[in-house]
C-alpha cells in the first residue's frame, strides 16, 4: 500500500514535471513580446519619444517609480486610469489627465506581466539610427537632372561643328592658294561667309530648292503643331502652394485616389480634399520623407493644429489652401466624374495618367474634343449587371442584328451627339 502511494506520487510528480517541460516553449509562444503588445495597444495614441495624443512614454516608468517607489502604481494607472484616479486621487495623475485635454485612456485588458513587458520594451527602445541619420532631400523634390533639355547641347555641338567646318575650309583654301602661288596662278579672292553661301546656292540650284522645301516643311509642321496646342493645357505642371507628392501618397503609401477625392463617385467634380482629410494621417505623421516638416507645417497652419499640444486651436481663423487648378474644361462642355467612374467604370489613370509616379502633378492627356470623341468611339459600355441598360441593350442588339453585335461603344448609345456634352 505504502509502496503504491509512493510510486503514484512519484508518477504524478514525474508527469507534472514532464508536462511543465513540454509546456515551457508554448508559454513563451503565447506570451506576446513587449513590442507586439506596444504596437497592438499603445501606438494609436502614444510614441516612445514624442508626444502624440498622449505623452511620450520614455522615462514615464522611472518618473512614476521615483514618486511612488515601485512599478505598481503605473501598472494600475495603465490598466485602468479612471479607476486609479478614483481609488487614489493621485494629484499627479489628475494633473496629467488635465494636461492632455482630459482625454481619458481606454482601460486596457492587459495582465500586469504584459504591462511590465511593454514597460521593458520602452526602456530598451532605441531610436532607429538609419532613419534619424537619413538626410532630408532637397525641398524642391529634385528630379531636375533627369531627362533635361537637350537644346543647349545641340547648340554647343552646332557651334563646334561650324568652327570645325570653318577651319577646314580655311585650311583647304590656304593649301589651294599655296598650290596656285607655286604654279603662278591667281590666288582665290577673299569672300565673306554670306557671299560664299550665296555663291554656293546660286551654283547648285537643285540643292537650294531642296533646302527651301525642307525648311518650309519643317516650319509648316511646327506651325501646325503650335496652332494645335493653342488652348491645350497638356503638360501643364504648375507649382502648388504645398509640395504635395502623389508619388508618395498614392504610390508608395497606397492610398486610394477616392480616399481624398471622395466626391469623384458622387458628383461632377472629383473634389479637392479638405484639410481634415490630410489631418487623418498627419496627426500621426509629422515628418515628410522628402521635405521634412516644412510642407506638413503648412497643413497645420491652414487648419490650426497645435503641434505642441496635439489638438486643434479653438477659434482659429482657418485659411484655405489655394491649390492651382490643372485640369480645366471650358464652360461650354459638360463633364461629370461620377458618370465616368461609377457607370463607365473608368480608372482614374485612363485620363490622368501615371499619377502614382508623379511627384508634381501635371496634365497627362490633351482633354480636347478629339480626345474625348476617340475614347467614346473605342470604349465599350459595360451594360451587364446594370439594370438601367437592360432594355437599351436588347434594343441595340435588335438594331445591330445584321452585324451580330453584343457589346456596344459609347458612340453607339449616342455618345457622339452634340447635345450630350454641349447644352
Amino acid at each position: 500500500m505504502q509502496n503504491n502511494w509512493v510510486s503514484l506520487t512519484k508518477k504524478v510528480y514525474f508527469l507534472t514535471g514532464l508536462f511543465s517541460i513540454l509546456l515551457l516553449p508554448f508559454k513563451s509562444l503565447h506570451a506576446q513580446s513587449g513590442e507586439e503588445l506596444f504596437t497592438g495597444n499603445c501606438t494609436s495614441c502614444h510614441a516612445v519619444n514624442k508626444k502624440m495624443i498622449g505623452p511620450a512614454l520614455k522615462g514615464a516608468r522611472q518618473a512614476w517609480a521615483e514618486r511612488t517607489g515601485s512599478d505598481e502604481a503605473i501598472i494600475a494607472w495603465i490598466k485602468n486610469s479612471q479607476g486609479y484616479i478614483k481609488e487614489t486621487g493621485d494629484p499627479y495623475a489628475v494633473e496629467l489627465l488635465a494636461a492632455y485635454n482630459g482625454t481619458v485612456m481606454t482601460p486596457m485588458a492587459l495582465s500586469s506581466d504584459e504591462v511590465v513587458s511593454i514597460l521593458d520594451y520602452i526602456d530598451n527602445w532605441e531610436p532607429p539610427v538609419a532613419e534619424a541619420a537619413a538626410p532630408v532631400a532637397d525641398g524642391d523634390g529634385g528630379g531636375e537632372a533627369e531627362g533635361g533639355n537637350p537644346l543647349p547641347w545641340i547648340i554647343v555641338l552646332a557651334v563646334i561643328l561650324f568652327i570645325v567646318v570653318r577651319v577646314l575650309v580655311g585650311v583647304n583654301k590656304s593649301l589651294e592658294n599655296l598650290r596656285r602661288q607655286q604654279e603662278g596662278e591667281d590666288t582665290l579672292p577673299d569672300v565673306s561667309i554670306g557671299e560664299g553661301v550665296k555663291a554656293f546656292f546660286m551654283k547648285n540650284q537643285a540643292v537650294s530648292v531642296i533646302v527651301i522645301v525642307l525648311i518650309a516643311a519643317y516650319l509648316s509642321v511646327l506651325g501646325w503643331d503650335s496652332l494645335n496646342a493653342v488652348g491645350v493645357y497638356q503638360g501643364y505642371e504648375p507649382s502648388q502652394p504645398i509640395w504635395f507628392s502623389h508619388k508618395i501618397h498614392a504610390g508608395q503609401n497606397g492610398i486610394n485616389c477616392v480616399y481624398c477625392h471622395n466626391s469623384v463617385e458622387k458628383g461632377k467634380s472629383a473634389g479637392i480634399p479638405s484639410v481634415n482629410i490630410c489631418m487623418n494621417c498627419h496627426m500621426g505623421v509629422k515628418q515628410g520623407k522628402v521635405t521634412g516638416s516644412k510642407e506638413i507645417a503648412k497643413i497645420y497652419e491652414a487648419i490650426g493644429w497645435d503641434t505642441n499640444k496635439n489638438r486643434y486651436i479653438e477659434g482659429y481663423d482657418q485659411k484655405p489652401i489655394e491649390w492651382v487648378r490643372i485640369h480645366n474644361l471650358q464652360d461650354f462642355v459638360y463633364f461629370n466624374h461620377s458618370q465616368h467612374v461609377v457607370v463607365g467604370k473608368q480608372d482614374c489613370e485612363n485620363c490622368h495618367g501615371p499619377v502614382k509616379e508623379m511627384d508634381v502633378m501635371y496634365q497627362h492627356s490633351e482633354l480636347t474634343m478629339g480626345w474625348c470623341i476617340n475614347c467614346h468611339r473605342e470604349t465599350n459600355v459595360s451594360m451587364q449587371g446594370n439594370e438601367y441598360y437592360d432594355k437599351i441593350h436588347a434594343d441595340l442588339v435588335e438594331k445591330y442584328k445584321d452585324q451580330g453585335l453584343e457589346t456596344f461603344t459609347v458612340e453607339q448609345i449616342g455618345g457622339l451627339e452634340c447635345g450630350k456634352c454641349h447644352y
Binding site: 495624443i53 516650319l219 497606397g254 471622395n262 464652360d331
Partner: protein
C-alpha cells in the same frame, strides 16, 4: 530689293513660330486664344468666391440642415467617453450581414481603410509599413475583438485616438456597410450576430422614437 523683303518676311515667320513653339514652361498652361470659356464669370467648384471673406467656395452645410432626399438626421450622441459607451450599447447596424452587404463593405474598406488597417485588418497597411504612420491595433486583437458595432460607428463618425473623423468621407450607409465587412475580420467571440440581424430594423425604429437626434437609417 524685293528679294530681301521676302527673306525678311520669311525670317519673321520663322521667329514667330519658334516663339510659339518654345513655350515649354511647365508653369504656364500654354498659349490661349480667347480663353473666356476657360475662365468664365460663372462660378465653378473651388474657383473662389469673393462673397466669402476667405473666398473659400468649399463650405460646410449650414448648421442644422440635412440634405434633401436623405434621412441623415444629425448624429446626436456626443463625442465623449460616455457617448462612446452609449453608442456601443444603443446603436445597431440596420444592414444584415449577408454576402452582398459584406462585398459592398469590402469595396468601401479597400478605398477608405486598407491603407492604415491593412488587407486583413492587422494594422499593417502601407501608410504604416512604408509611410511611418503609427500602427492602429488589429481588429482581432484583445482590445478590438469584441468591440460592438455601435462603437465602431461612433469611431468612424468622430475619430478616435490617432484616427480622424471620417464623417466627411463616408455617409451613414457606407459606415454601416463597412462595419459589416470589418466584423468579418474581428473573429469575435460571441455568435450573437444572427440574432442581431433580425432585431436590427426593429431596434432602429425604437431608437428613432426614443432619441430623435440619433442618426439611424430607416
Amino acid at each position: 530689293m524685293r528679294k530681301r523683303s521676302t527673306y525678311f518676311g520669311f525670317g519673321i515667320i520663322a521667329a514667330l513660330t519658334l516663339l510659339v513653339v518654345s513655350c515649354g514652361d511647365p508653369e504656364s498652361p500654354g498659349v490661349e486664344y480667347m480663353p473666356d470659356m476657360y475662365r468664365t464669370p460663372a462660378l465653378e467648384p473651388y474657383s473662389g468666391n469673393d462673397f466669402y471673406a476667405d473666398s473659400m467656395e468649399a463650405r460646410l452645410p449650414a448648421e442644422g440642415t440635412i440634405p434633401q432626399g436623405h434621412n441623415y438626421l444629425p448624429y446626436g450622441i456626443p463625442e465623449t467617453t460616455e457617448g462612446y459607451e452609449m453608442a456601443g450599447a444603443m446603436l445597431k447596424n440596420p444592414y444584415p450581414a449577408n454576402d452582398e452587404i459584406i462585398a459592398e463593405g469590402k469595396v468601401i474598406y479597400t478605398k477608405f481603410c486598407v491603407h492604415c488597417h491593412g488587407e486583413a485588418g492587422m494594422g499593417d497597411g502601407l501608410t504604416v509599413t512604408a509611410g511611418g504612420h503609427p500602427p492602429p491595433p488589429a481588429y482581432n486583437s484583445a482590445a478590438l475583438k469584441n468591440l460592438p458595432e455601435g462603437k465602431m460607428f461612433h469611431t468612424i463618425t468622430y475619430g478616435k485616438n490617432l484616427m480622424g473623423s471620417h464623417a466627411s468621407q463616408l455617409n451613414n450607409e457606407e459606415r454601416w456597410k463597412v462595419i459589416r465587412y470589418v466584423q468579418t475580420m474581428q473573429g469575435s467571440d460571441d455568435e450573437k450576430e444572427e440574432d442581431a440581424e433580425g432585431e436590427a430594423e426593429e431596434t432602429a425604429e425604437d431608437m428613432d422614437a426614443a432619441d430623435g437626434e440619433t442618426a439611424m437609417l430607416n
